[in-house]
């Protein structure tokens, strides 16, 4: 029996009606997308500002106060607690009252004039976010404060300052490309859109195909003259439309609500996103051929979601990953789409830079669909 578009059309209509009748499913599908985008975009930031800090100032002079003020002015630390002894400073961290403690020993101003001043900052090493923000912030503030002290003492000693205004001989100006204000949301949103789409597409495709077997409705389909490819496509086409709808919603929110400007070619983005969605749906079909129940299908789809979250370069850089995790990340379609999405959305680059990622996605889709259709059995057992 030949592949028939007419039969496919009828089947797609049946699936669409089935989806449209289950209004709760559509609401959940689009609602989930909406909620996920909001939650991820607003929460995905690792920089910690206004960390509560305990201060033990044993000097109580102008210089020590200036240094405390410099730390507070950096926006990273708040001087929430003033304590009397270093032991209390350790305790405050033990009790999780503060994330950091600053201990300034006696004679800070006098030592600073002699170029011998020192201080101690304690960081709560059980909180990775406080540590990573606090460590670099404290280091930077101390460095620039120390330079200021040093420049003051050079000027005071009557020597010629290093430059006319006492500044450093090399001035490094940093230009952040594509995201000048270093807004976390700008780089999070294009990747998040990919992750939401992948999760939806893989999971739903796998569950849709397993469902018929579990519900026993496969029997009826088997009794009809429907071909295997027609059956698979009829399930995937409505899902692909839903995914595109979700994509459109995410893009609209990203551009108009979150204000992340779209730099590239919308047309190109649409086609590559469709390619990405196809590869994810294909992956879902492949999973469905291994799973007997929706439960198993879902468990396997979750693994791809986790891999996507952690190994695709979404939040953690792929540079420097060891070989095995990098290879596993290579098996996740999101890894390639993140390059495409960030590239078109933020950088505004075109196919001349993205052709390799697009080509891999094409090959990926073909391989997955081929393997899946070989494994897909239209049998009851």
């Amino acid at each position: 029996m030949e592949f028939s578009f007419q039969r496919l059309g009828a089947l797609v209509r049946k699936e669409t009606i089935q989806i449209l009748r289950d209004r709760r499913f559509i609401l959940l599908f689009l609602g989930l997308t909406f909620v996920q985008l909001f939650v991820y975009s607003y929460s995905a930031s690792r920089t910690v500002y206004h960390m509560p800090m305990a201060v033990v100032d044993q000097s109580r002079d102008a210089t020590s106060r200036a240094f405390i003020q410099a730390l507070v002015n950096s926006q990273y630390f708040d001087d929430t607690l003033y304590l009397g002894s270093p032991a209390q400073a350790y305790q405050a961290i033990d009790r999780s009252q503060v994330k950091a403690s600053l201990i300034i020993p006696p004679g800070f101003a006098a030592n600073a004039r002699a170029g011998l001043a020192s201080f101690l900052i304690l960081l709560d090493g059980s909180d990775q976010f406080a540590v990573s923000s606090g460590y670099s912030a404290a280091g930077l503030v101390a460095q620039s404060f120390g330079l200021q002290l040093s420049a003051e003492s050079v000027i005071r000693s009557g020597a010629v300052p290093p430059a006319a205004n006492g500044s450093l001989p090399i001035n490094l100006s940093t230009d952040i490309l594509y995201n000048p204000d270093l807004n976390d949301r700008w780089f999070v949103i294009p990747g998040i859109i990919g992750m939401i789409l992948q999760t939806l597409a893989v999971e739903q495709a796998a569950i849709f195909l397993v469902r018929d077997r579990e519900w026993g409705t496969l029997e009826q389909i088997l009794a009809s003259p429907v071909r295997q490819l027609e059956l698979i496509l009829s399930k995937l086409i409505p899902l692909a439309v839903l995914c595109l709808l979700a994509l459109g919603m995410c893009m609209g929110l990203g551009i108009f609500w979150f204000g992340v400007p779209f730099q590239g070619n919308l047309f190109l983005f649409f086609w590559l996103a469709l390619l990405f969605i196809s590869s994810c749906l294909g992956l879902g079909v492949l999973i469905s051929t291994r799973a007997h129940t929706q439960f198993e299908a879902e468990a396997s789809a979750m693994i791809f979601m986790l891999f996507g979250l952690l190994l695709s370069g979404l939040f953690y850089p792929r540079v420097g990953m060891p070989l095995v995790p990098r290879l596993i990340g290579d098996l996740v379609p999101l890894t390639y789409f993140i390059q495409i999405s960030r590239g078109i959305y933020l950088k505004g680059i075109g196919m001349n830079f993205l052709w390799s990622d697009a080509l891999i996605l094409v090959i990926y889709t073909l391989v997955v669909v081929l393997v899946a259709s070989r494994r897909f059995k239209m049998r009851l057992d």
Binding site: L32, L120, L123, P169, L172, T174, F295, A299, V319
Partner: protein, 365 residues
């Protein structure tokens, strides 16, 4: 009554074990994931790809570039004659940072007034962003050295308590174990009632003299066992293979972990009771899992969230359990310092479990 409960629990165990693929996914999977992520995830700045355009080609510029490579934070991949080449390398994603040194750099340095341009890929990860801060620090240090200005005028001692070498795993393992305990208990329970309803076996159970509370417990006990097994496996791997320390009281931890697990079982029960199909249960459970990952302090700091999301975060038991896990395992502190978190956790757990049990009972009637 206990005999009936035992028989029912056995039935649930047998049913669970009948899905070998899922069972492997729920027990061995998490352990493999931990090992994988343990070696994959680095939050520190090291060996980031960098390109340069050294138009000066002088001793001064080479020394300056050397300061970057010697720091271990950056690897110089390629050199380009002009700024356009550097931008192209960042466009293509080949490099995360680019350094552009002008032709008159050496002269400018001797006059004490050189300027250098650093280009940073702002479309990439969090690490790239903190890399620009460390690049600025390296440059400042080098420049201060040239000017014979001492940065030692202020001697900064930064001490990181509990985790002095900043081992990523010491952060990852306790939190991941807690997350598994939560996620597995929730997922397994969320499917429990809905599956019986979908396969039509709930009717058969309802006509037997089984009490709702017995059925509920029988559904929960096997799930609790698997979830605890997962957590023990995670911690064993973390401690034995990766050398993560366990500093506090194991007994206190076990008690609080069970309390926490009961909360996720209750949440799973609630999801299972309100869902009409396995597909719906799965969607709700996935949503809850992800929300917890993002809002409870697992992937991102909870105190950095906007007010509304922070409120949502504080309605999750995980938000209070993570400080307990970190407190007991990493800090080695006891109940006298942890009681505020413990009280909040207990209150939330009781509330969630009560709601779950209530919904479950309604569903059975």
């Amino acid at each position: 009554m206990l005999r009936r409960l035992w028989a029912l629990t056995q039935k649930e165990f047998i049913q669970l074990l009948r899905f070998p693929l899922a069972m492997i996914g729920f027990t061995v999977g998490p352990a493999l994931e931990l090992i994988l992520f343990a070696v994959a995830i680095h939050s520190g700045v090291s060996h980031l790809p960098m390109v340069v355009s050294d138009q000066s080609q002088s001793a001064a510029s080479q020394a300056y570039i050397g300061a970057f490579t010697n720091s271990g934070s950056f690897d110089i991949l390629a050199a380009y004659p002009d700024q356009a080449g550097v931008v192209r390398a960042i466009d293509s994603g080949q490099a995360s940072l680019g350094l552009v040194i002008p032709a008159n750099f050496a002269d400018q340095v001797s006059q004490g007034d050189a300027s250098v341009l650093m280009l940073v890929d702002g479309s990439n990860s969090f690490v790239t962003q903190s890399a620009s801060a460390s690049a600025a620090a390296i440059s400042q240090q080098f420049a201060a050295g040239l000017a014979h200005m001492s940065l030692g005028a202020l001697d900064a001692h930064i001490q990181i308590l509990y985790n002095p070498d900043l081992q990523d795993l010491w952060f990852l393992v306790p939190a991941f174990g807690a997350f598994l305990l939560y996620g597995i208990a929730l997922k397994l329970t969320a499917f429990s009632i809905v599956r019986e309803r979908e396969s039509g076996t709930i009717e058969a159970l309802l006509v037997t003299p089984i009490q709702p509370i017995e059925l509920m417990l029988a559904k929960m006990i096997p799930n609790l066992c698997i979830a605890i097994l997962d957590m023990v496996l995670t911690f064993s791997i973390g401690m034995l293979i990766f050398g993560v320390p366990f500093r506090g009281s194991l007994l206190l931890f076990s008690v609080l972990a069970c309390l926490f697990a009961v909360g996720s079982l209750g949440l799973g029960l609630a999801i299972s009771s309100i869902s009409q199909s396995q597909v719906q249960a799965n969607q709700l459970a996935t949503l809850m899992n992800i929300a917890v990952m993002f809002l409870s302090g697992f992937m991102f700091p909870v105190y950095g969230l906007p007010a509304l999301l922070r409120l949502l975060g504080y309605s999750m038991p995980m938000t209070f359990f993570l400080p307990i896990v970190n407190g007991i395992i990493t800090k080695g502190i006891g109940i006298q310092d942890l009681w505020p978190s413990v009280l909040s956790l207990a209150a939330l757990t009781v509330a969630i479990f009560f709601i779950g049990a209530q919904l479950f009972r309604q569903k059975l009637d």
